[in-house]
Assembly symmetry: C2
Homo-oligomer: 232 residues x 2
């Protein structure tokens, strides 16, 4: 891919980004982080429905986008449910509270999920003349999902660019942040209240403080307490 080709598509100033946006704490923080860089008009938040138990997540995403003036895209990935059975999509499976003995990952792991999200976001970016994708993945998450790691993200960035012969850059502003640092970032972006009250992190789909029982709630609450004690 030539330098000329990369730049001719869109000047840097007009460049924009597609944000993988679930309505959770992390992706909502990323949405407002991206707005600061590219401006509201040049960002496209995209949410994916893939048979999650909690449609509440998507409702939260739509509400946040609407109330803050973002145009928002919802995509249904039915195929993802049919190729993978995991606790996030199957009613009969109970969510692991920790990684089971002898297993590599908790049963909330949807194989390939982030690769599909990033690839689709890359195609949408290209179709809009943008070169950027933003995702809220973090290596410090409890789960250690392989598709949240820096090494995977850099490899995906290269693969997606090669697939289309069009340069896509994947931004991961939360990659090395603890949850306490993500709360601090929300404060700095002026969206602390919004994050606390309107986002859904809970695996059981309860807005704001969540169920308090699932691993995602535990992580969020721990981070908030650390933030409040100034540990960030």
């Amino acid at each position: 891919m030539t330098e000329t080709k990369q730049m001719s598509e869109k000047n840097q100033e007009q460049d924009g980004a597609v944000i993988i946006f679930s309505g959770g704490q992390d992706s909502t923080t990323c949405l407002f982080w991206a707005e600061k860089i590219y401006g509201k008009k040049n960002i496209i938040p995209v949410s994916f429905f893939y048979g999650q138990k909690h449609e509440k997540e998507l409702e939260a995403a739509e509400k946040i986008a609407r109330e803050n003036g973002f145009s928002h895209t919802n995509l249904s990935l039915d195929f993802l449910k049919s190729i993978s059975a995991c606790a996030l999509t199957e009613d009969e499976i109970e969510i692991d509270k920790e990684i089971p003995e002898g297993e590599d990952y908790p049963n909330t792991f949807v194989p390939g999920r982030n690769l599909f999200f990033l690839s689709i976001a890359g195609v949408i970016a290209r179709n809009n003349g943008f070169h950027n994708v933003v995702t809220g993945v973090s290596e410090s998450d409890f789960s250690g999902y392989p598709d949240c790691r820096e090494e995977f993200i850099r490899s995906a960035e290269k693969t997606i660019s090669l697939a289309m012969d069009y340069e896509i850059k994947i931004h991961t502003p939360l990659m090395n942040k603890t949850k306490a640092e993500t709360w601090k970032m929300a404060e700095d972006l002026g969206i602390f209240d919004l994050i606390e009250k309107e986002t859904v992190t809970c695996y059981n789909g309860i807005v704001g403080r969540g169920c308090g029982e699932c691993p995602a709630c535990g992580l969020r609450q721990k981070g908030l307490e650390e933030y409040q004690r100034g540990k960030y």
Copy 2:
């Protein structure tokens, strides 16, 4: 990923493959190539529907699979139609017969298509304890689609393996073959008649010899003539 982990999933002898199978000349040749290596029971042909104009392609795939005793999986990728507009999926767009001046690719290019096919095939392989994916892409195709190139395939192989922390190998038996050589391969596999009469390569969805007008028919016919003149 540890060596132990790669091997413990399945012994090499029991290993198998997922075949990206469209019912066309190339993927049908790959299907029978894979059968020779892994055996009928250890291969999973998967076909994708993404709003192609010619459902004939999928009908051919189903018929070939059924009549030859393969269990066959069909997956619908509706999202692909909604994120990309191209001549293969939109009724209003006429198919380019060659690459238009000033464009990089003919309008039959569906951005990201092979990345989605390969990623999904990789997840299905993992879920079945297999480590192999087979695709009929070829660098010698007229189109020069970026997602048919060797460099892309090797990058995708790495990305898909990293995404799941599970080694997937992507096999491309036709990568450097001309169409004439692919006809020769069909002869060697004992499936020349099947390829000639039952596969669909034609962009207008006509089984066997095709419409004779579209670029895919032209390429197939040219290859067949070269093969018949012994040019392979």
